[in-house]
């Protein structure tokens, strides 16, 4: 009886493990496999053919003849200053967008976390609500708002506040606006989850020991919300660096972001090997902040346990 029960428990655990494994298998198949293909292409040479790159493994009459790989695509990326500038520009735009999201998102998350529980859910729903509409459509809608004949300029001109339309669209401003608008929920949600858990007795204790309200915020709330800040910043920064839609739709000709360069290399220059190299380097750039975040988290957990 007890043996059967133990067996049963064992079985259900293996099943649970299998169920948990499934998403990992999924990720392995549909993330790692395409990545390996991209990695392979990045070592190839471009040719005018179908597919437009040389094969990695060469096959002669006697079978396997050798590996044909080149680092030329990478050296090209590093020699042409154009790419370096664009990488830096992408990082800069993503960083500024992230900071703007943080400055807007922190007070919002703080406000929601301090509401009575019933009202919190309404405010959270309002944060999540835009997700119900396609991302592309939402970004596209900004064109109608920001354009020279868009809603905003039209309104400002009709009330006589301005006589020339303001340059709101097709510039960096529009891209920042798009990034903040699209990624703000990703900043708010982890911050909210963190701030909502804050033990309010700690703020009373700080006040009791002589801290004014802003002091208890700086001394207690802010340091304790650091995991939420880091999490939110990563969730905004990482996708924003490689963002294509927002700069493509809202940015100007001089808005250089790596996502657009990737698109151009793939679909306009049809230089798949260089395009692949661009995306591999981008991935390496993004791994750095993730590892840094992991490092900080491990250190904090190490200090805690």
């Amino acid at each position: 009886m007890s043996k059967a029960a133990a067996n049963n428990g064992h079985d259900s655990r293996t099943w649970l493990r299998r169920a948990v494994m499934l998403p990992y298998v999924w990720l392995l198949l549909f993330f790692l496999a395409p990545f390996l293909i991209i990695l392979k292409i990045s070592f190839a040479e471009p040719v005018v053919a179908q597919p437009p790159f040389t094969a990695l493994l060469e096959w002669g009459a006697q079978g396997f003849a050798g590996i044909r790989a080149t680092f030329e695509n990478y050296t090209f990326l590093f020699q042409d200053r154009y790419y370096g500038i664009i990488y830096l520009e992408s990082l800069k735009m993503a960083a500024i967008g992230t900071v703007l999201c943080l400055l807007l998102g922190y007070p919002m998350a703080y406000f929601i976390a301090r509401q009575p529980p019933r009202r919190r859910n309404i405010y959270l729903l309002m944060v999540i609500l835009p997700f119900w509409i396609s991302f592309l459509l939402r970004v596209y809608a900004w064109i109608g708002l920001l354009g020279n004949k868009g809603l905003i300029n039209h309104f400002l001109m009709s009330i006589g506040l301005i006589h020339q339309p303001l340059p709101l669209l097709y510039n960096d401003f529009a891209v920042y606006l798009g990034i903040v608008y699209s990624y703000l929920p990703f900043m708010i949600l982890p911050l909210y989850a963190n701030l909502e858990r804050l033990n309010l007795d700690l703020l009373d204790a700080a006040a009791d020991l002589g801290a004014k309200r802003w002091e208890s915020f700086v001394d207690v709330t802010l340091p304790l919300s650091r995991p939420g800040i880091l999490g939110g910043c990563l969730l905004v920064f990482i996708p924003a660096v490689g963002e294509f839609t927002i700069p493509a739709l809202l940015g100007g000709a001089d808005t250089l972001m790596i996502g657009r360069v990737l698109w151009d290399e793939f679909f306009i220059n049809r230089d798949w090997p260089v395009a692949s190299a661009v995306s591999v380097v981008l991935l390496l750039l993004l791994i750095a902040p993730i590892l840094w975040f992991q490092h900080i988290q491990n250190r904090e957990q190490g200090a805690a346990s």
Binding site: D201, D204, A207, D208, L209, D219
Partner: protein
Amino acid sequence: MSDPSPTPLVQIHEVSKLFNGVAAVDRVSLDIQRGELFAILGSSGCGKTTLLRMLAGFEQPTSGRIVIDGVDMTHVPPYERPVNMMFQSYALFPHMTVEQNVAYGLKKERAPAAEIKTRVAEMLALVKMETFASRKPDKLSGGQQQRVALARSLVKRPKLLLLDEPLAALDKKLREHTQFELANIQYQLGTTFVVVTHDQDEAMTLASRIAVMAEGRISQVGTPGEVYEYPVNRHVASFLGNINLIEGRVTGKDGNRVSLRCETLNADLSVLCEDAYDTGAPICVAVRPEKITISRTPPETNNRNVVKGIVRDLGYFGDSSLYRVKLQSGAIIQVSAQNLRRTAKLTVEWDDEVYLSWEVPSTILLRA
């Protein structure tokens, strides 16, 4: 120990606090003397924590005044009061070490670094936590966290220290130990302590005076002995310790002795009382289980109340025994008796017919 100066340290005048129109604290007036270890005792929701939070400054009274050391503090924010609080959850800052936690209040005071260092060290020595100075709170046991919280709340040398259920989170053995330690520290420093608790034992052993609260009001204020032996009403009587409540009707008065007829006990009893009572008026008296003598032979009836019944339940604790005696009317009276003689055979057993008796002055008259 107590200051001879006549003005109390804390004066609470007619303080009320309403939450959404409901009074959590209802017209409470209370004076707390310097150097006192004062306990506010009550069950959860009686308003004791709200009263404490108003003393700390976390809540503003809806009406009334709070004066601390002669200064009206009713609307002074917590960070400007000469008052510190030890929280029930301890509320230690998890991202700071023990030392940083204790130093925090002094840092906010902008005390010089050298002074902070010595005073923090003094406090940690007082609570015997010197060796844990560089630990984070989550590396400490509950008892250790409690000590750090105490040190942190005392380091600013407050005139008044508020303690919200200081021992509730500790296990029983540690609680008993800490209880005496807390009283010792209070005695050493001479700081006025106000302890809020729902635990009557804690209040009785710790406090020099107790205020018993119910439904936002103070029922009685007095020394532990006063509130235990001379409770003013049913709530105080039944909240502190065990008690037998007896309802009856006045049958006559002879000097300061009121006689009453109690139908539930089927007995005639007497109680001492100065007030005038009309014959036939309803009256409620009470008697503590340890004041009752249990015997199988009829006791002396001179100046004693006597009833008769059958032992229904018997709890033997070694040092004492608790009897539940059923009277002819069906009412149950609890009796607690010290086992003074060394004998394995109990003198009173289940189903024995017994006499219960107690001195007339031991009978408590409850007015409400």
